[in-house]
């Protein structure tokens, strides 16, 4: 009975995650506000399970230098550090009321959606149209499409990150921008270290 209950919980959470993924495309503001009020951690587990599956699938397209499980564990560590960073920073900046960690975990987990989509699409395109690209008309057209697609996902990611921090920390615009800038100030050199050691060419954050 307990096992059956658990299975239903997983299926329900999976349906909610898929639904919210779609709603984050259509109505990101309203959806992120709803996610912020969630306390169901099963959805976070499902998002991370999809990342785990992604690393294993991508390893078939192009073999990684390291085992996919190591890359997955590093992604989990990066996520935990990111959550703790924003939690501590917002605790320092938010004096009016205490910041809770659960909404921060839920909302930041959903900001991984554009990352998952970008990495999955890049992996599939790597298999279908392997680089390097050519300077002919088709190559140029593909390059323009790919760049547009990447910029679109990047802007969407920034919007989701801003909304996640806005709803979970209740901080104002400038303070959120300070936090993100400080985060990037630490994340960019760290990404270069990861690149130098062949862990990630583009960090999965």
């Amino acid at each position: 009975m307990d096992f059956k209950q658990r299975i239903f919980e997983v299926i329900a959470a999976l349906i909610i995650v898929v639904r919210r993924f779609l709603l984050l495309i259509l109505v990101p503001y309203k959806t992120m506000r709803r996610i912020c009020n969630e306390t169901d951690m099963m959805q976070v587990y499902i998002i991370f399970t999809s990342i785990f599956v992604y690393f294993h699938a991508a390893n078939r397209f192009r073999e990684y230098e390291y085992e996919p499980i190591i890359l997955f564990l590093m992604t989990v560590v990066h996520f935990v550090i990111t959550v703790l960073f924003f939690f501590m920073m917002s605790g320092f900046l938010q004096k009016k009321q205490p910041v809770e960690i659960k909404p921060l975990v839920s909302t930041l987990a959903y900001t991984l959606l554009p990352t998952i989509i970008w990495f999955s699409t890049s992996s599939i395109l790597y298999a279908l149209l392997p680089p390097p690209r050519n300077i002919n008309l088709l190559g140029m057209a593909f390059s323009m499409l790919y760049i547009s697609f990447s910029i679109t996902l990047l802007i969407w990611k920034i919007i989701l990150l801003y909304l996640a921090l806005r709803f979970s920390t209740q901080l104002a615009f400038y303070r959120i921008i300070y936090m993100i800038m400080l985060y990037l100030l630490l994340a960019i050199p760290y990404s270069l270290v990861l690149y130098a050691f062949d862990y990630f060419r583009i960090p999965f954050i």
Binding site: V27, Y126, P132, M144, S148, I159, Q170, A172, F173
Partner: protein
Amino acid sequence: MKTKQEQIVSQKLQDIFQIPPNDLGNQYITSFYKLFTRPLKKLPFLFIVPLSAAVALAGYLMFGHLIIHLVSLLQYGF
């Protein structure tokens, strides 16, 4: 005992007052911020996709074939 309509109104009010409105310190900047962010709350891709295409085109016009090298680099990036 609240009726369903009261519950909906109560929920809407909670949503509205969940976070304080943004004040950017200057009336014009705050108005611009609100004007800019309003379309992004609903169907943001209607604005993001043309903007991205314009940025990609501008990038090509400015940097030319370097864009192709960037795409090759990004394709190895996963």
